[in-house]
Symmetry: C2
Subunit: 328 residues, 2 copies
Amino acid sequence: MVRVVTERELLDHIALDLSAVEDVERGFAELDKGNATVPPIMMIPVPHLDAEVDIKAAYIKGLPMLAVKVASGFFRNPEKGLPSQSGQMVVIDAETGFLQGVLLDNGYLTQVRTGAAGAVAAKYLAPKDCANAGVVGAGAQARFQMRALALIRDIRTIRSFSLDSDDVRDAYTRDMERELGVKVITAASVEEVVRESSIVVTTTPSRRPFLKAAWLHPGLHITSMGADAEEKQELEGAVAGAVNILACDLKAQSTRLGELRSALRDGAITAETPIFELGAFVNGKHPGRTDEQQVTMCDLTGVGVQDTMISLRAYAIAQEKGLGVEIG
Amino acid sequence: MVRVVTERELLDHIALDLSAVEDVERGFAELDKGNATVPPIMMIPVPHLDAEVDIKAAYIKGLPMLAVKVASGFFRNPEKGLPSQSGQMVVIDAETGFLQGVLLDNGYLTQVRTGAAGAVAAKYLAPKDCANAGVVGAGAQARFQMRALALIRDIRTIRSFSLDSDDVRDAYTRDMERELGVKVITAASVEEVVRESSIVVTTTPSRRPFLKAAWLHPGLHITSMGADAEEKQELEGAVAGAVNILACDLKAQSTRLGELRSALRDGAITAETPIFELGAFVNGKHPGRTDEQQVTMCDLTGVGVQDTMISLRAYAIAQEKGLGVEIG
C-alpha cells in the first residue's frame, strides 16, 4: 500500500518549526560525515518553454527510507496566471526499494526545507543580535527565510527590497508583520537593506548580481539562496572574497550552480579558498561565528539530503496522523 | 487533480500489443531526430544492500507530457521472499510542469516497454523466418521478449535455457506454450539455443559472458537486454565484432553500461565501428537487415524515451477509461 498525501494535508500538518530545522540540520551532519549518497541533480530541460524538471535525491545511511523529489520550474507559467514552481516527492523504503508514499506537496516541502537550511546557516553564522534583519525579494522564500530566522534569533524589523509590484510588497509587509510580530520597512534599495541590517537573506531568481561587496560591514551575515543554476547570480563575486567565513550547503553544487561559481569565475575566490559546508558547523569541525565583528556568507543551492529529511518527516507525521489515502 | 493508477489496473488495461510497440518505436524515432532530451540515468546506490534506485526520464518535443521513472533494484530482496525489482512512473504536463499522474505500476510498464524495444529490434533486424526462436533466462523478460517477438514474426518453437530451478523452467514452458501456442524446448546449453535458433534473446542479469562468438551462424539475430550496468555482461565481446549489423537503443548508454562497453573494452569493436541506434532504422537512415544471411545484434539498455512513451500511453488509456483515483 502506498500512502498518497495531498498538498492541503501537508500545509496543515507540516510546519517550518524547530523540529523541522533539527531534521534538516541532521541531514547536513550526515552529509558531512560521509553517510549520504547524493547523486548530481538530474535536469530535464524543456527548452522552448524556458522550463525544466529537476530531480534531487539522497540516501542517508541508517535512515529507513530515502526520497526522490521531482520539481518543475516553468518560468513562463506566470504569463498564464500559473505558478512557475511545482513538485512532489516520493518516499521509498531503503530496505526493500518499495514505494511507501507519494507527497503531493506541490513544492511546499521544498519551501520548508529551504527555509530550514536558512535557519541552520543563521544558527552557526549570524551574529547574536539580528534585531535588524533584511531580505531581498518578496516571494515565498522571502517569507520562509524570515520565519526560519525568527526561530533562531530575535528579530524586530525586517528591511525589505523587491522589484515586485506594490501589491506584492504590501502583502509581504502585512503577512510578516502579522505573523512574526515585527515591523517591516520597505527599503529604497538593496544597498539600504545591506547597510542597515545585521543579517540579509537574498531570495531572488536574479541573473544579474545586485548585492555589492562595497556595502559589507562588520558583523554582517548574508545567506544567498536564489542561485541554483549556472545563469543565476545574486551577489557580486567579490562578496565571497571579502568575508571572514565562507559557507555553503554542498561545495560540489555551490561551485557549479551557486554563488561560489560566479565568485570562482570572477577570481574573487580560488580552489584554495577555505569553504565550509553547513555540516562542518553542525559536527563541530568548524566553530562557526566566533566574533560579532566577523563578516560571514552562506550560499544555499538546495541539497537532496534536505529533501530526504523533510520527506521522511512528512511521511512519518502522515503515518502517525493517518493523513492521505492508502492505494495499491 | 492527480490521477493515481494502481498496478492491478495497469496490468488489466495496458498490454504489450502492436500499438504499444508503435509508441515505443516512435520514441526511438524522435530520439534519432534529436527531438528528445534524455539526461543520463540518475543512480542512488544503497551500497550495504547491493541495491540502487535508478531514475530515467525523457522529454520528447511535441508531446503533451513527459515522464520520470523511479525504479528500484534491491538484489537481496529474494532472500526475504520479495521481488528485487519495483518502480513507478510520474507523468508531468510538458506545458506547465504540473504533475498529472502517478502510475503505481511496480515495474510492469518497464516490462512492457522493454519487451516493445525487443519487438522494434526484431522488426528491423530479425530474419523473416523466426520459426525457431531462442531465449536465455526464464524470468519476466524471457516472457515479454517472446510475446514481443510473436507480434512481429511467426514463431513455432522457443528453445529455452536458464539456470533457474526446474519449477521456474516448467512454469516458463507451460505459460509460453499456453499463451503463444508454441512448443517450448528446454535446451541443454546456451550453445544449443544459439546453434538451433534464427533469433536469440538474452534476458539475464549475468555478470559473466555466456554467449560465444564461435556459435554465431548465418542469418542469426541476437537481442541482448540483460546488461544495463557496468558489471553486467551476457555476450562475449567478440560477438559485437563479428556481426554484419551492430545496433543498440542508445549508443551513449550502451557503450557505457551495456554489451558495447564490454566489446569496446575487449577491443572487439572500436570508436570507429559503425553502430546504429534503433531510431535510425525507424527513420529509414539505415535499411536494417537486407539479406537473410546477415548476422545482426542489438543491445538494449533501456532508454528514458521508452518510459515516457509507455507512461503517456498508460496515462491516456487511464484517462479514457477513468482508471485510478483523482487526488489533490
